[in-house]
C-alpha cells in the first residue's frame, strides 16, 4: 500500500505527537503541514517508481564503507 500524498489532519498530527511525548504549538503544526505538503506527494512518486527487488542501501554509510 502506498503512502498518501495528502498531509494528515491537524488533530491527527497533534495526537501522534502526544503519543510520542511531544507537545507542539499550533504554529509548529502549521509549519510542519507546509513541509509535509511538499514531501508527501514526492514520496508517493518515488514509491511508485521503485522496483520491489530494490533493497535498502546500507543505513549509516554508503555500501562498502565504515563510518
Amino acid at each position: 500500500m502506498q503512502s498518501s500524498p495528502e498531509p494528515p489532519a491537524f488533530e491527527h498530527l497533534r495526537a501522534q505527537a502526544a503519543s510520542l511525548g511531544v507537545d507542539p504549538t499550533d504554529a509548529d503544526l502549521e509549519a510542519v503541514l507546509g513541509f509535509l505538503a511538499t514531501i508527501l506527494p514526492a514520496l508517493v512518486e518515488i514509491e511508485r517508481g521503485l522496483p520491489l527487488e530494490t533493497a535498502p542501501a546500507d543505513p549509516y554509510a554508503p555500501a562498502g564503507e565504515t563510518a
Binding site: G49, P51, P56, A57, P59, A61, A63
Partner: protein, 443 residues
Amino acid sequence: MTAARLARELRAGELSPREAVQTYLDRIERIDGELNAYITVRAEQALAEADALEAVAERGPLWGVPVAVKDVIDVAGTRTTAASKILSENVATRDATAVERLRRAGAVVLGKLNTHEFAFGAMTTSQHFGPAHNPWSLDRICGGSSGGSGAAAAAGLAAGTLGTDTAGSIRIPAAFCGVTGLRPSSGLVPNDGVVPVSWTFDAVGPIARSVEDCALLFDAIAGTRSVVEGGVEGLRVGVVEALLDLADPRVADAVRAGVATLVALGASAEPIEVPMLAEAGTIKQLVMLPEATNAHLEWLRTRLADYGADVRARLLAGLFLPATAYVTGQRARRGYCEGVDRLFERFDVLAAPAMPIVAPRIGENEVEVGGERVAFRLAVIPFNSPWSLAGLPVLSVPCGFVDGLPVGLALVGARHADETVLRAGHAFQRATDWHDRRPPDPV
C-alpha cells in the same frame, strides 16, 4: 596568508607558534565584532598550546598553524553549543577525533565557529548566537550551516577551518564566502565528537583559502597523503547541464568559464545527465529528516520551545513522516548510487554550480531562481543533495563574481576519489586567481 605558506614559515623559524596565534587573536579582536564568525575564542588556551608546541620534538605538517572548528565539533574543555540554547553551556570533555588529529599534526585551535542551529539549516542565522555576516557584504548571509567557517576563512580569522556537511553545509559557505571547501567522501573522516544531524550523510571537512590548504587539513583529519600536483591532462569532466540551466545565468556563465579553464589545461568536457537528479533532493530528505528527528527526540520532548522556529519545524516534520518513508528513502538511495557510480566509468569529475545564486541578504528567506521566487532552502537542495546522497567527495572552488559576490564551481568525484577533485581544483587555482581575492576588512 595561506595555511601552507604559514606552515612553511613556522617550520623555517621565521615566526613562532605564539606569534602566529597572537596575530590571529588580534585580528579576531579587531574585526569579528562585525562578522560574528566565532562563538567562542580560546585565547588563553591557544596561546598556552602554542607555547607547548615549542617543546615538541616531532613537528607535524600543521605545526603551529592556528585553525578554528565549527561549533558542533568537540574541543576538550571548551563548550560545544551548536549555536543552540539547548547546548549553550555544554562543555566537551574530550576532543573529537578530527580535532585530535589536527592537534597531532601540530595545529592550534583558536576557537569555535558560528553555525546554523544544530547544523540543521543553510543560513547560519542562529536566533541564540546571531547571524554570521558575509565578509564580502555584511548584510548578506554566509550560507551554512558552516557559515562561521566560511567567514573566518575568507576574512583571515584562522589559517584554516573545519566545517561539517550533511546536505551542502561546507560547499554553500565556501561558495558564498569565496573560499575553498571540501566535503570528503562519506566515512573517510570519523564523526565521533561531532553533534550529529544525520548519521548517513554527516561529513567533517576543511574550508580554507586554497585547495592546497584544504588538502593539508584533509590529510590531517583523514589520515591520507593527497598529491595535488599533477594537473588535469586527460581528465574527463562531465558537465551537469541540468543544474547550469537552473542557476542564475550569470552564475552559470562563471561556472562554464571555469570548465573552459580546465579544458584549456588539458581536460576534456562533455554534457552529462545524472540519473534521478530531480528526485535526489526528496530521497535525501526521506532519510535525513527521520535521522535528525531521532537524534533530537529527547529534546523535542523536553526542550521544544528552546529551538529556533525553522529548526523546530524541520525536526517535527521528521516525526510525522510514515515509518515506510525512511525505508523508501534507503531503497531509492541504493538505486540512485548505482546510477551515479556508472557515470564515473565514463568521467573522472563532474562539474556544476556549487550554488545557483550568490549570497542572499540576511532575513531574505525567498530567492529568485529560474525566474521564480522560491524558498532559499528549496533553491539549494538540487545543487547539494545529489552529491552527498551518494557519499561523494565535492570540492567548491571560487570561479568568479556576480554583483561583487563570489561564485563557486563544484567538482564532484567518485566515492573515495577525493584526491582527484583536489588535484583538479589545484590545477584550476594554479591557472586562476579567484581564490586569491580577499574582501576588504569591515573595520
